[in-house]
Symmetry: C2
Subunit: 151 residues, 2 copies
């Protein structure tokens, strides 16, 4: 079972994702924006992160296309940050990572998130978009284009 | 719709997860271990990361309980890194983040991962472990214990 890879780390979806959102603060800032804390001060009140770091991470999120900076007031000039489609599509990864931290690091769901339409606490599972079954590492393999395809 | 949170960022599953695996290199190292590159040199050959950084991140993964360091040779003394149950349970979050990078940053699945039992390229979806339906931010809400419960 060869799982070696023959290309560098940057030519890889995970590395590409981390280059945009791989910073500790970046994901926490995104989570605040998901929660509706879309203004600089609101995010800062929640995270108590150094303002220059927050500014830097927000600038990167805007340049990466994950959030948009929208002016909501002219006098004084004020902005808020809104998720793009690209940003909203990160929700699955964020909720999976949060659930892992709840389970394995904290030992309790904090905060508890509820799946509104079914009423149960969220226990996210990564499933296959084709067959709908759960995804595990042992049931996946890398396909190497040009190396014979098939199995 | 109040989604404000009344506790600090560290009292939060996402922050807790990131405190263990939030580093750029940490997740890439974990992905190599998932791929079967469990020895220091193999990981280093794949990622070409500075050795002191790799050593530091592996040490943190061991102390965080995500991987175990196992001696596989006495003379010379050699070790390999194996995922714990805690580590294996990160697969869902990693595959979701990789798929996001494929879709939104690279524009192509690199490498292409196949769901072995169904034969299709992996397109992971975060679903509810209770009802099985897909999870979106708009269909979830924070539950604030002691604030009245219910809806």
């Amino acid at each position: 079972m060869s799982r070696q890879r023959d290309h560098g780390p940057m030519n890889n979806g995970l590395a590409a994702a981390l280059s945009v959102v791989g910073d500790w603060w970046t994901l926490l800032i995104l989570r605040e924006i998901f929660r509706g804390n879309v203004r600089f001060e609101h995010i800062n009140n929640q995270l108590r992160v150094a303002r220059n770091i927050q500014t830097d991470r927000l600038t990167r999120l805007v340049s990466g296309g994950v959030v948009e900076k929208i002016r909501y007031s002219d006098k004084p000039e004020r902005f808020e940050y809104r998720l793009t489609d690209m940003g909203r599509d990160l929700y699955g990864a964020i909720i999976m990572l949060k659930a892992w931290g709840d389970t394995w690091v904290l030992g309790t769901p904090t905060p508890l998130i509820v799946h509104t339409s079914c009423g149960n606490p969220v226990a996210p599972v990564a499933t296959c978009g084709h067959c709908g079954n759960g995804l595990t590492f042992d049931d996946t393999h890398d396909s190497h284009p040009g190396s014979g395809a098939g199995e």
